[in-house]
């Protein structure tokens, strides 16, 4: 009898334990290893407390992020339940079935994409572009912008010298040409007994660096990806003479005004150069701005921020940032959706911004106090209003690497002409789209 009771108790206990396991999941969120990821760990503690689920995080440094995570998705891996994937992955991940479609979930939970900044919805969530098919919730708005040494710009002797040389004040540049003048002005200059240089720009070859940099010049000289009528029209569009001028501009900027040895620099190298006082200007994604403000050498009012300056063909900036998706291979999809529901709440988004995460929720960024909440908040808003993104096609990786090779070959290695580089790029991209059956 005693044995029977013991067995029954054990069975009931096991059932109870099983029920508990089913309701409390251990979710793994995958993202890049950078400052905002640490802020997200902090933010997610609230989700753990409220939901009873536990959160694990898998963060991979940027240069290996795409390799590692796309490998995981392509192999149907179950490491990640939630993926904050790069904006360009959306096409491939949607078409290959890596992400679950969120339309029904959004409808059931009353989450509407109208509540988010339109550029982030188009960039991070939609596939095909321009259609109301959503595969991610905008999680982190980001854009390429510029950081400058305000304290150096305010030095009276430098202001006087600059005015005399260029006939205008040393201030935030309105155009790319003005930006180059400023970079040239600072190049090789002695400040506080140290030789400084003009600008740290993206030149990295291995992943996406130089493309994320050069597009800020090319868009503003007229680059479009296809035309409105012919989305895959490349010849005469991508390699138009004015786009070649934009590429020449980027090369001139690299040749005249960057620190020696900066032939393979991306986000972290630019941050290091700026924080160590090597450069007057820094091109980088907006995510670095909270870190700049907090830095003892360049923060606390010594730095200023401005959006990518306009060019002769328009005024745009390269979109960064990511959306958060539920991985279709996950066994904990319900809990993962619960996380997205929690994350989409306005009060959580407001806290996200406070912690250093760039919320894409209109309720947060359109708050009257937002623009003055941080020294870089207005620049973030201005920049997000002019964003343009790289291809988000399923073959984006082939398109990106072709551009990396062609542009690096011209800008850094100095091989051929800008026109030849773009003609070659059109050939490469045409081959990719032909393989895909798009043209």
């Amino acid at each position: 009898m005693k044995t029977r009771i013991a067995l029954m108790s054990a069975a009931v206990g096991a059932l109870f334990a099983g029920a508990q396991t089913a309701s409390a999941d251990d979710l793994t969120l995958c993202w890049a290893a950078w400052d905002p990821a640490n802020a997200l760990i902090e933010l997610s503690k609230d989700f753990e407390a409220k939901s009873g689920h536990t959160m694990s995080f898998e963060f991979v440094p940027w240069p290996n992020f795409a390799d590692r995570m796309l490998n995981e998705l392509n192999s149907g891996g179950q490491l990640c339940d939630l993926m904050i994937g790069d904006s360009q992955w959306i096409g491939g991940s949607a078409e290959s079935g890596h992400y679950i479609k969120l339309n029904d979930f959004f409808e059931a939970e009353g989450i509407t994409m109208d509540d988010f900044i339109p550029a982030t919805v188009a960039g991070y969530s939609e596939w095909p572009k321009g259609t109301p098919n959503y595969w991610a919730l905008p999680a982190f708005g980001d854009v390429v912008g510029w950081t400058y040494r305000k304290d150096w710009f305010e030095m009276p002797e430098l202001q006087a010298e600059f005015s005399e040389k260029y006939g205008r004040e040393l201030g935030v540049p309105e155009t790319l040409a003005e930006l180059k003048d400023i970079a040239e002005f600072f190049q090789g200059r002695e400040i506080d007994g140290k030789t400084v240089y003009g600008a740290a720009i993206y030149t990295e070859r291995g992943s996406e660096g130089i493309t994320m940099g050069v597009t800020n010049a090319l868009y503003n000289y007229g680059l479009t990806y296809g035309t409105a009528d012919e989305p895959y029209k490349l010849d005469g569009v991508v390699n138009a003479p004015e786009v070649a001028e934009g590429l020449e501009f980027y090369k001139e900027l690299y040749d005249c005004c960057t620190p020696p040895g900066s032939s393979d620099w991306y986000m972290s190298e630019n941050i290091d150069a700026y924080k160590s006082g090597q450069v007057a200007l820094q091109m980088n994604f907006a995510f670095i701005w909270p870190g700049v403000e907090a830095d003892p050498n360049v923060g606390g009012g010594k730095s200023g921020y401005f959006p990518n300056p306009a060019g002769p063909g328009g005024h745009y900036a390269q979109l960064g940032g990511q959306g958060i998706s539920v991985v279709s291979y996950s066994d904990s999809q319900d809990a993962a959706l619960e996380y997205i529901k929690w994350f989409a709440q306005p009060e959580i988004q407001a806290k996200w911004w406070e912690l250093g995460g760039y919320s894409a929720l209109k309720a947060v960024v359109e708050d009257p106090d937002f623009a003055t909440s941080q020294p870089y908040a207005q620049t973030f808003l201005d920049s997000m209003a002019i964003v343009k993104d790289f291809w988000a096609e399923p073959s984006y990786a082939s398109l990106l690497l072709a551009m990396q090779d062609r542009v690096h070959d011209f800008v850094i290695a100095g091989n051929g002409t800008a026109q030849e580089a773009l003609d070659g790029l059109v050939e490469d991209w045409t081959e990719v789209f032909e393989d895909d059956g798009k043209i």
Binding site: A66, D67, L70, N71, L73, N74, G76, G92, E95, S96, G97, E204, R205, G206, P259, P260, G261, S262, S263, D264, P394, A397, S398, L401, D405, H408, D409, F410, I412, A413, G414, N415, D435
Partner: protein
């Protein structure tokens, strides 16, 4: 003693199993022992090779599991062999391969010859010399990017000290004309000790009686070097060249850390290019054809070389 051990093992074998094994021939038992290894080889080496050959005739992409896989015949091979960029990476690989081997053999042999002279502290110096090859290539790559830094790098400083040029006026890993030499220098620094050790083994295997006989015949040191030392060390040297050749043909980590294949595509070796095709562009079929071409190249060259090596040994 051993008999009793066999008897004990026989006694311990369960009767059922003993009856079954008793009927097996020596050949069958040998197969039983060898079978797991053969199975593993088939599963790990042969099957992937056959599968890769099959994929090389398709347009398969591993990141498009839902896409239809088409048989494209020899198109992938044709594209690769007519692609100028791929020939450029082959040239970069050849440059890297030839110069690293030449420098490592010359310096490695010279060091081995010196160390073999037996002097005070020779063991200490041997240990110091072999240190670089004990490091991880990733560490070496990272470490040398700092040494090559134009503003703070020791390498540029040393060059500047001896030549008088401004250290920040040149960038070893950022300039097209210098980057191929930058990777050759680092690989030579790291792997010359390996060649030295092999040469040292060769030098120490030469019986001293041969040199004594040569001295009796009044042969000059120069003649002893060319008629005794070099021919007797040659098989060892050739072995070192084979190892370094195979290793450097598939060089990846060190160069990725140093230059990432740049500037432009100047230092993009075939293995880096292949990795980008396979795991960044996800052109699995194309990359399979590429891998097969490289495999055939290395296998063919290595076979010719091994034949030559055997001939040298027979002499």
């Amino acid at each position: 003693m051993s008999n009793s051990a066999i008897e004990r093992a026989a006694a311990a074998t369960p009767p059922k199993l003993a009856r079954r094994v008793r009927g097996l021939s020596d050949r069958a038992i040998a197969w039983i022992f060898v079978a797991p290894t053969i199975f593993l080889l088939l599963a790990v080496n042969i099957f992937p090779l056959i599968w890769t050959i099959r994929l090389s005739f398709t347009n398969y992409r591993v990141n498009r599991p839902n896409a239809e896989v088409e048989w494209v015949g020899l198109r992938n091979y044709q594209r690769i062999l007519t692609d100028e960029d791929i020939w450029q990476t082959m040239q970069a690989t050849a440059h890297f391969l030839i110069w690293t081997i030449v420098l490592q053999v010359l310096i490695g042999f010279a060091l081995a010859w010196l160390i073999n002279k037996k002097f005070r502290g020779d063991n200490f110096w041997t240990t110091i010399i072999v240190l670089p090859m004990m490091l991880s290539p990733a560490v070496v790559g990272n470490f040398w990017t700092f040494l090559y830094q134009p503003q703070i790098g020791l390498f540029n400083y040393v060059v500047s000290f001896f030549s008088g040029v401004d250290p920040s006026s040149f960038s070893m890993i950022g300039e097209v004309s210098l980057a191929p030499w930058a990777i050759v220098i680092v690989d030579t620094w790291m792997w010359t000790p390996f060649v030295m050790l092999i040469c040292l083994a060769g030098l120490r295997s030469i019986p001293t009686s041969i040199y004594e006989a040569a001295e009796c015949d009044r042969a000059s040191p120069w003649r002893q070097f060319w008629t005794i030392t070099v021919p007797m060390v040659l098989p060892f040297l050739m072995l070192a060249v084979l190892f370094r050749g195979i290793e450097n043909f598939k060089m990846f980590d060190l160069v990725v850390q140093l230059t990432g294949g740049g500037p432009g595509s100047t230092t993009e070796l075939t293995s880096i290019n292949l990795k980008r095709e396979a795991f960044e562009k996800w052109r699995t079929g194309y990359a399979s054809a590429y891998a097969i071409i490289l495999f055939v190249t290395v296998f063919g060259l290595a076979s010719i070389y091994v034949k030559a090596l055997n001939k040298v040994k027979e002499r």
